[in-house]
């Protein structure tokens, strides 16, 4: 059986890669993917922790797993809206580079 530390460690690494992607990359699509990666890293942590807490207060508990289902649903909605925004932007400017989104500053 995979020990819990490995699961949580992997999720932390994935989360860090996601953060790095949002901060470093300039392409909107890649930023969207990085946000998805962060959410999925969280899902992994929830599943891992649920294995640590299969029972809570004397009763079988699935809090972590249920949370994952909700996060997957929300992530789908979020990515749909995100792509919609990217398309609206692309129609007006023919570019998905965030560096060029600089009308509003200071």
């Amino acid at each position: 059986m995979v020990p819990l530390e490995h699961v949580i460690g992997l999720s932390a690494i994935l989360f860090a890669i996601g953060i790095l992607g949002v901060v470093v990359r300039r392409n909107l699509i890649v930023i969207l993917m990085s946000i998805e990666l962060m959410l999925n890293a969280t899902n992994l942590a929830f599943v891992g922790f649920n294995r640590m807490w299969p029972v809570f207060g004397g009763e079988p508990s699935l809090d972590g797993q249920v949370f994952v289902l909700m996060v997957i649903t929300v992530a789908a909605a979020e990515v749909a809206v995100g792509l919609g925004i990217v398309i609206a932007l692309f129609r007006n400017r023919d570019s998905v580079d965030v560096e060029e989104a600089s009308l509003l500053k200071w």
């Binding site: 999720s11 929830f46 807490w53 949370f67 909700m70 925004i85 609206a88 932007l89 509003l104």
Partner: protein, 506 residues
Amino acid sequence: MSFPDLNFSVLAPIGFVAVGAMVVLMGEVFLSRARTFLGREITEAWIGSMLALTSIVFLALAIYAAWAAFAAGSSAVFNPDNPMLRLDSFSALVSGVIALASLLSCALAIAYLADLRINHGEFYALVLLATAGMLLMVAAVDLLVVFLGLELMSIPIYVLAGFDRRKLRSNESALKYFVIGSFASAVLLYGMALLYGTAGATSFEAIRAGFDAESPMALIGLGLVVVGFAFKISSVPFHQWTPDVYEGAPSVVTAFMSVTVKIAAFATLMRLLALAFGGLGATLVDVLWVLAALTIFVGNVMAIIQENVKRLLAYSSVAHAGYLLIGFVTGTIEGYTAVLFYLFIYLFMNLGAFGVVVALAHRGQECERVESFAGLARSRPGLAALMTLFMISLAGIPGTAGFIAKFVVFSAAVKAGVIWLTILGVLMSVVSIYYYLRIPVLMYMKEPAEDAEFAEVSSGEALVLGLCAAAVLCFGILPNDLTLPLLGKLRLLDWAQESVKLLLGA
């Protein structure tokens, strides 16, 4: 296994708003297909106002439901076997206030959307959905519901920020809000995962019982949750999105989100701190202290150099988040009461200030440069007087509600011994007078530009602005015993205190 004894009355405020969103969404589809309605020709403007009226009706029902729950003073959970949603006097009061802010925003939007030729019915549906999310969030007693409410609030607002989708500035505003907002949600979510890992369940009660201030995992989780909320309440150093998003979004959306998101996020943070983290650990007080000090300082200083009114108001809203955080630093009943009271007053003065900007937009053009307010007192004396009132209230000058709100926060802080932060707050309020009063000075003492034209004020806008101004004046003079013919006695301060006392279990 028996079927749980569900209490559907808990869902009443959220339900009215959510059903309203569906009705508006469907109504738009059917009305825009039909050529005539009851024998009269229908126009786009007519559809817009009908949908706005429908949303106002549903929001009024939600306010009524929340008010009834508050007046009954009950504390009911949806599912007693597994409490996730709890409608107690705190969440009922905050829900009512949020629904009121959404209602006023809908009334403000009717003429504005027609003016900017973005009169799509989805606007009202999205406002209602976001409101449903906020009501869900403030009624949550489980991390899962907090997350769902937060996302249900945020996702429609991403869309609303980009609502004027032919304008590049609106696109850019939506983009920035989306990227930073979903990044913040992911950070918050990771914090929730770590808290779940330490406690073993996601309910506030379990987290309170299982929270171990020595365990690094719990502390990192707590830190990430606080950072996630700091993004939403736009506290420095997580505020950079605020001015950009507020400037680029259509003014009416800015008015809506600047008020409601702040109320919902602050109220939820308060509930989290009170119920899940058992008051404040010593570490968290220090963190909040630093956040408050930075937020007050940076918000006020950056506002000085702004040339765009919406940006100026954005930095002012950052500064106000700082004053609100002072109340959190105290951790006392008075402090929390002050935060709640400040949020109510903030609703009226900020919605009013943005409402004036909304009312001045005309023929597809926003009126948002500071200079474009020059000479407004000549051509629109009423609007100029209202703007002056909102500005002096935001600055906290006595006689207005803004003063009472600041007074309540600062006196709670002094009582709790948070002296340095109070001094910084008072000093920075003095600084803020400079940038707030610049606009009245321009309006009354400068000649209007040659080509200046200002829009006619529609009846919806006049109503909203009048109501906000009346509230700012009345609560500024009688904060706690204003008697109105229909509504009875409005005791805002006492209500806030009662609900906070119940929340903290004192």
